[in-house]
């Protein structure tokens, strides 16, 4: 392992290369493009072995190419975000139903309209119900470490589902950070070659992607739910194995700080966790009983873990990077559902940083203090919004 200052997109590309993918296929989209550009350069340099690198005619085509490749028994990779992810969505639902362990990095970016190339989580949240595992990372070391783990989880026979590794666009993809770059031996010792239980082969002809009338469709969806439930255990095991293997422990489906005696839990996902952690430390130093819960796996949702972690808290502050229009922040919804009947904690959901809006430390601290001091009712609020007049009313 060698420590280097690299940009987020390189930390992804380097890690993907070490996982020995067979087919990489993508379509450029800001701010994901540099990930696949780096892979394309590695391909051009002959560094990817027998891997086929394909630039598709669209994200829809890229996802479709990977469906064919994955069903044929190839280890596959793609990266996308925003409009590209939404364009892929029809195929991704299909890939999940066909139980194809495609691994993809999402460089989280907002959705149009209005057009914005900057970061939030609206794109991956829109894929919430597709039966795709979603893990959010805090920094570029975590994304670098997570990619080999993602293959090991997705390709586990108890799982066999696509997996999205979500990293904040620009905030992580383009950030320079020191990263301990993995080497081939470390990854090879951790990640075995892909050996699918079934694949397209003339030696044993099978039919993939059948249609199912009402008498058998439902069972297919039942097993998908079971696979997601089993994924929780598989993920916990793989995360633990990784921590032992490389000596970096990123936690389980959630990670927590100061939660043992916390009265207020602050919940966040993605790159903002680093800032939230600092604010939590600051408040602790001021004598406030505040803890941090970092949600790593959003799907499967860590229901049991959050119940346990938040057993004794009175208030929960959630920082959301998305909104389910007509309801509230999606993380708050899931948290409340997980805690219903287990906890009477009040939930305060703050939607922040949509479309790359800056999230200053003062905003985070101000929200948490407001909740601690009882200056705000439980509910969902947009924070960091300026005064404006609506035009269409």
């Amino acid at each position: 392992m060698v420590r280097k200052v690299v940009r987020g997109f390189y930390s992804v590309a380097h890690s993907v290369k070490l996982c020995r993918p067979d087919v990489i296929c993508a379509y450029p989209i800001t701010p994901q493009t540099e990930i696949v550009e780096n892979l394309a350069q590695m391909y051009a340099n002959g560094e990817l072995g027998n891997c086929r690198y394909i630039t598709a005619e669209s994200e829809f085509g890229a996802a479709s190419i990977l469906v064919g490749a994955s069903a044929t028994g190839a280890r596959t990779f793609t990266a996308t975000c925003s409009q590209g992810l939404i364009l892929m969505s029809e195929v991704l639902w299909n890939a999940a139903g066909m139980r194809l362990p495609i691994v993809m990095v999402i460089a989280n970016r907002s959705l149009s309209a209005p057009l914005s190339i900057w970061n939030d989580h609206q794109d991956s949240m829109a894929m919430r119900d597709a039966c795709i595992i979603q893990v959010y990372v805090e920094n570029n070391q975590e994304v670098h470490d997570l990619i080999p783990q993602a293959y090991k989880i997705a390709e586990n026979r108890d799982v066999m589902l696509p997996m999205m590794v979500c990293m904040d666009g620009y905030k992580l993809t383009h950030a320079y950070e020191p990263v301990d770059l993995l080497d081939q031996e470390t990854v090879d010792a951790f990640l075995p070659p892909y050996d699918p239980p079934i694949k397209l082969t003339t030696k044993d002809p099978l039919t993939f992607g059948c249609y199912a009338p009402p008498h058998c469709y439902m069972e297919f969806r039942v097993v998908m739910q079971r696979a997601m439930e089993r994924a929780k255990g598989v993920m916990a095991k793989v995360f633990e194995e990784w921590a032992k293997h490389v000596g970096r422990d990123w936690g389980g489906l959630i990670a927590q700080d100061h939660m043992d005696d916390a009265e207020v839990a602050v919940v966040a996902m993605g790159s903002v966790v680093g800032l939230v952690r600092e604010v939590v430390e600051e408040l602790r130093n001021e004598g406030k009983k505040v803890g941090l819960v970092k949600i790593r796996s959003f799907r499967p949702f860590p229901t049991e873990d959050v119940r346990k972690a938040m057993e004794n808290v009175d208030k929960i502050v959630v920082f959301e990077r998305a909104i389910s229009f007509g309801h509230e922040g999606p993380v708050a919804t899931d948290l409340k559902a997980a805690l219903y009947g287990y906890s009477d904690a009040k939930v305060y959901s703050f939607v922040v940083g949509l479309g790359g809006r800056d999230i200053p430390r003062s905003l985070i601290k101000g929200c948490v203090e407001k909740v601690i001091e009882g200056r705000v009712e439980p509910g969902c609020y947009f924070e960091g919004v300026k005064e404006f007049e609506e035009v269409i009313v």
């Binding site: 087919v23 296929c25 030696k203 059948c210 249609y211 199912a212």
Partner: protein, 291 residues
């Protein structure tokens, strides 16, 4: 005997699709991977637990068969398994010329080693005869119905042969279920070329076209003999072969056997459409030297 496409599938009596599919699979001796988008063929052959396929088969969604096939091909190459078999797409005309044309263009452009077969029954027949880009002018479909004002489809049949040729792929041909030996020969010839191959096979649809179930071959033959469906073959962009017509028949002989064109013989604009179709046939005959 080992089957490639078994009996017991759900095609309508007289359906042309199994004729085309079986001839392609026999020509390849079953040594192939089949990719099939949503459509007639998919729905008659791929119900869970009742698959008719004796070859590896994958269906993903409606508009991505060309891309899925590209992925299968790429994976076979990456895994060193390209000798296992050819990658073949069977796609309907709507999946090919309308909704799937983006993925098809991408696949052709990258020149993946895939044989793409368009089973052209000239409308969305799986769902009951809705107009596609390959529906001929004047055809009465449920989305271009003949009414007091409109005489069925207004517009042209998309020229997918020209589309394929524009991508400079090595092999492009048309065929018809009326000539199964020709289908087999073309398939064998096509797979001699490395890269993308396109064969468009004319497949009459008993229900959508409104023909007798024992007239499938007769109608298919008339489409060729009137020059409405020219049978052509291009290698590396050059026209190398056409099916000559011994005695060119007027288009009415083809039209009158089909319910989808019946209105043309009494509609105020019918005569105009029939003349247009005759003009298309005459131009085909001249352009390809069919006579």
């Amino acid at each position: 005997m080992k089957y490639f496409f078994s009996s017991g599938h759900g095609a309508c009596p007289g359906c042309a699709l199994p004729i085309a599919v079986k001839n392609v699979l026999y020509a390849l001796e079953g040594k192939c991977f089949v990719v099939n988008p949503t459509g007639c063929l998919e729905i008659i052959s791929s119900q869970y637990d009742r698959s008719a396929w004796g070859v590896p088969y994958i269906h993903s969604v409606f508009e991505n068969a060309a891309a899925v096939a590209a992925g299968v091909e790429a994976a076979l190459k990456a895994l060193g398994r390209e000798d296992e078999g050819h990658v073949v797409v069977f796609a309907g005309d709507g999946a090919t010329a309308d909704i799937g044309i983006g993925c098809l263009s991408g696949m052709f452009d990258r020149n993946h080693d895939v044989l793409y077969i368009c089973l052209d029954n000239e409308a969305y027949q799986n769902t009951g005869n809705q107009q596609s880009g390959l529906t001929p002018p004047g055809s009465n479909t449920t989305t271009t119905p003949a009414g007091k004002v409109l005489p069925g489809k207004v517009g042209k049949k998309k020229d997918m042969v020209a589309f394929a040729l524009a991508h400079k792929i090595p092999y492009v041909a048309t065929a018809s279920v009326a000539f199964p030996q020709d289908i087999r020969r073309k398939v064998k010839r096509a797979v001699e070329f490395e890269g993308s191959k396109y064969i468009q096979i004319h497949c009459p649809c008993v229900t959508g076209w409104g023909i007798n179930s024992n007239d499938t071959i007769k109608v298919a033959k008339l489409a060729v003999e009137t020059a409405l469906y020219p049978i052509v073959e291009y290698e590396n962009g050059e026209l190398v072969r056409v099916r000559k017509i011994k005695e060119k028949k007027p288009v009415e002989e083809y039209l009158k056997l089909q319910r989808r064109f019946r209105h043309l013989f009494k509609h105020p604009k019918g005569k105009e459409i029939i003349e247009e179709l005759q003009r298309i046939a005459d131009e085909n005959a001249k352009r390809f030297g069919l006579i």
